[in-house]
């Protein structure tokens, strides 16, 4: 069983307010301040909120971490605090501020339409009438579920169920969203839809989203900040593009050719990853990219050329093949720290 990592995660709502004594110029003011002081509130940190994604190979502890953060699992040691609460105490106040969406286990009542689950959650979370109506309207619009939410859950398709599941999870306007593999099993268009929804919801409400996913596209699309954990240990905390650049500061060039290319010739341009009569894939460092592309386009056999980042899976594999204790610093050869 994976050990829960030792974390302290700051989430939304962290504010620090100082009461500062207001000083005014002048004798009169100085005299006045002897009798009555004026205070001004200074907000040092306000409403810090963000999206972070958990990346890691299977067994790294992503789902475990989410379960610890939501209070379902007790850490063996260490401190966890979410929104100022200790999750494992499962205080009602804490539970009202979070939501956990698990791809595999749903909260929608199976034999009843989703509207009944919405109604149930409304009562359980104590949502007022107007708030409920407003939230419902917004979610229906964002998720396009008005037509399907009155059908029994068991009659809905997987994608429709996921959308209603998200609606049920967000009715109480939680500040922190834990999403465990939310796009698993969905087809490509549905994945895009869910990703888009989460992005827009986050924009509108500024909630903190903590996401685990196997799909790199989920993380790349949604998470400006990424935390990498491997064997339950923190390996990286920063933004994704910088990570990619530092781990694999290469670009890939994919070619389609009308006639086979000579391997030796290609190797002068860059590392040859794949080569067969009709296509080739080369790996080229960032700074040598322009030159390489120029060379390749000049060759008559090249009919099509695309430049890509290396697949995230490969980046991850490379990252996790490093020694366990090495932290990864962001920043490629020319980039500054993100």
């Amino acid at each position: 069983m994976a050990q829960a990592p030792l974390y302290s995660i700051e989430v939304k709502g962290l504010s620090k307010v100082y009461r500062v004594h207001e000083r005014e110029a002048g004798l009169a003011a100085a005299l006045r301040s002897v009798f009555r002081r004026r205070y001004k509130a200074v907000h040092a940190v306000e409403d810090l909120s963000f999206s972070i994604g958990f990346l890691g190979p299977n067994g790294a502890g992503k789902t475990t971490t989410l379960k610890v953060l939501s209070g379902l699992l007790h850490p063996t040691s260490g401190d966890v605090r979410v929104s100022g609460h200790v999750p494992q105490r499962r205080e009602a106040d804490f539970l009202k501020r979070i939501t956990l969406v698990m791809g595999q286990k749903q909260q929608l009542l199976w034999d009843l339409p989703p509207v009944e689950t919405f109604s149930l959650n409304r009562a359980i979370y104590g949502i007022s009438g107007p708030a409920f109506k407003a939230t419902m309207a917004e979610l229906e619009e964002l998720l396009d579920i008005a037509r399907i939410s009155s059908k029994p859950t068991r009659q809905l398709s997987l994608g429709e169920r996921m959308k209603c599941e998200l609606a049920a999870a967000l009715l109480h306007q939680p500040e922190v969203l834990f999403l465990d593999e939310p796009t698993i099993g969905l087809d490509v268009s549905m994945q895009l839809g869910v990703r888009e929804f989460i992005r827009r919801y986050n924009e509108r409400h500024g909630a903190t989203v903590v996401l685990t996913s196997h799909y790199m596209d989920d993380v790349a699309a949604l998470c400006p900040r990424v935390i990498i954990i491997d064997q339950g240990r923190l390996r990286y905390d920063g933004d994704l593009p910088a990570l990619v650049r530092s781990v694999r500061p290469h670009k890939r060039i994919a070619l389609r050719t009308s006639a086979p290319l000579d391997r030796a010739a290609l190797e002068r341009i860059g590392g040859v990853l794949e080569l067969d009569p009709a296509r080739a894939v080369l790996q080229v460092p960032q700074d040598a990219l322009r030159e390489a592309v120029g060379h390749l386009l000049a060759r008559p056999e090249v009919t099509d050329l695309t430049v890509e980042d290396p697949p995230l899976e490969e980046v991850m594999r490379e990252l996790f093949s490093h020694k366990a204790d090495e932290p990864v610093t962001a920043g490629g050869p020319e980039e500054k720290d993100a």
């Binding site: 475990t64 379960k67 209070g71 494992q88 286990k105 909260q107 009944e116 959650n121 104590g126 029994p152």
Partner: protein
Amino acid sequence: MSAFSRALQAYPTLLRVGFAGALAYRAELLIWMLTTTMPLVSLALWTAVAESAPIGRFGAAEFTAYFMAALIVRQLTGSWLVWEMNMDIRSGSLSQRLLKPIHPLFVYSAENLAAIPLRALLCVPIAALALAAAGGERFQAAPAPLAIFAAALLGAWLLNFFTMALIGSLAFVMESSTAVFQLYLAGFMIFAGYLVPIELFPPALREIAAVLPFRYTLAFPVEVLIGLSGPRAALRDLAVQWAYAAATAATALWAWRAGVRRFAAFGG
């Protein structure tokens, strides 16, 4: 007490949705209902036995009254919580219940109560008619016993529910507590007077039955309903019943909390 009052506020919705759920899963409801109509079979049995000669105070009419009352009480106080808890714990869907800011036992209780009207709807009117017809002389419609009956019924439901919660919580530590439940049911069948009125037991067993809590989940309300106990004895028994219910509730809540901690320590 604010957690409790919040749960109370949510209760009507919980009941309503529970009712809708019971309606939706009609097949399952039907089967639960069928299991609690065993008193009808018992009745057929005992009226056949009593044909040659009554047993103790019980002739055909008395048996009819008893088993019809047993049917009514069983329908109104029965709970299948052990099965549900075992399933939820094994499948892990208990996690969803734990994420809500309301105690899962509240929700379970609402689901149980919500199903009662449907279950009762089919059996209880018929049983009540049969009861009135057969046990005319015994049935006291005087207000005092009826109020005691209501209290006894509620006490029986509470005792039953929390016993189920306790046994269900064993599923946190065992692979499945349904085996323990079978054991409990065996005890219940006899010592709650479900299969045969306790009054007819041989003396030694009668003593045992009087002490065990099983009696208070069925036999006691039945005896009150058909007038087998006088009001004073009934009041004393009522106190014992509610004492048992309170003790069981406390134990069940403790077992639940301990179980959830274990559930969370080993992977929800």
